[in-house]
Amino acid sequence: MEVWTVVAKLIGAGLAIGLGAIGPGVGIGILGMGAMNALGRNPEARGPIMTNMILGIAFAEAVAIYALVIAILLIFVA
């Protein structure tokens, strides 16, 4: 394989996961902020807040996982 193809693949994979992690990072930050706010207002609702926060984080994280899948595909398959 030509060297530039390898270079392009590696840069593409790095960009894919690097840029793809920005959005979910911000999203998880907002989720955590919301959960902390809710916890401060209503400390008794710790259980439901925790469960829903983890569910929401898993959804936000899924977007980063898509980017990771693309990166993995670029490196190992393409």
Partner: protein, 306 residues
């Protein structure tokens, strides 16, 4: 607790923590990357193979069309079957032991499902959603057993976490899609198609125009086209769900596998166990999300839009 006892407890914990930290530092310095950074010689007893990831599942028996992820899926089915068979063989009214544990799982799942879906629809959704949950969580947790991926047959690993094969999440996603559509038709009959082909507003606008009321009809015409388009988007979103289901589970499990491999390569002692714990948690969460999303989409499908 007396002061003396507490002091000895703190001492024990402190010694343990220092020991674990020392093990982490030693194993990092002795591993290939760490010793390279500090210009040391890698220790021979800490030699770990560089992590290698193959996207496609391996085939340990070249003559048979069986991949190692398929074998693992069979094993987790067998484990679940045996667990529930043994647990419910001679059931008692007052459960104890294994039966108690299984009833705890089933009851928690039933509550989780009947809460949004209601009594009638919850009974439809319960078998499929709970099966998906149990299968995914069994696949995820079985692969965390130490030595799971180290058994080799014909140079290929005999076992590999079933969720890291793209086909198994895809199969589960297709099952979930088919059941959601089936429940939609079962609950609402042919009128379920109205979700996808919203011709109602367009039809009434055309009727108005043909009746001669051009001004009211023209306003309704735009509305009709918009809702027709929204219905077509709904078809697309039902199809894209399958892709998103597949890649969410596959990506999470694969990323976990690679993460553990890389941590073992970087720091062979102590630290990977923390990531094992994290993987156990993520396996549970992903199973819950797969089942919960199926449940959510099913609830949306059976709901009347009035």
């Amino acid at each position: 607790m007396s002061k003396r006892n507490r002091r000895s407890l703190f001492l024990k914990i402190g010694v343990l923590a220092v020991g674990l930290l020392a093990m982490i530092v030693v194993s990092f310095l002795g591993s290939e990357v760490g010793s390279g950074i500090f210009g040391l010689k890698p220790a021979s007893f800490l030699k770990v193979e560089a992590p290698q990831y193959h996207p496609a599942p391996e085939r340990p028996f070249p003559s048979l069309p069986i991949t190692n992820t398929l074998i693992t899926a069979w094993i987790s089915m067998a484990v679940l079957f045996l667990l529930f068979f043994i647990g419910t063989r001679n059931m008692k009214l007052v459960p104890n032991g294994l039966q108690n544990f299984l009833e705890l799982i089933v009851e928690a799942a039933a509550n989780f499902i009947e809460d949004p879906a209601g009594e009638k629809h919850g009974r439809w959704f319960f078998p499929v959603c709970t099966t998906i949950f149990l299968f995914v969580v069994a696949n995820a947790w079985l692969s965390l057993i130490p030595g799971f991926e180290t058994v080799h047959v014909n140079g290929e690993p005999l076992l590999r976490s079933a969720n890291t094969d793209l086909n198994i999440p895809a199969a589960l996603a297709v099952v979930s899609f088919i059941f959601v559509e089936y429940w939609g038709f079962k609950a609402r009959g042919v009128s379920y198609l109205k979700t996808f082909f919203q011709v109602g507003p367009l039809w009434s606008a055309l009727k108005l125009i043909s009746a001669g009321n051009i001004k009211a009809g023209a306003g309704g015409l735009l509305n009709g086209f918009v809702s027709l388009f929204a219905g077509l988007l709904e078809i697309l979103s039902h199809l894209i769900r399958m892709v998103s289901f597949t890649f969410r589970l596959f990506g999470n499990m694969t990323a976990g596998m690679i993460l553990v491999m890389i941590m073992i390569f970087l720091v062979p002692w102590v630290l990977p166990s923390l990531f094992y714990g994290m993987e156990a948690f993520f396996g549970f969460i992903q199973a819950m999300i797969f089942a919960g999303l199926t449940l959510g989409f099913a609830c949306a499908a059976v709901m009347e839009e009035e």
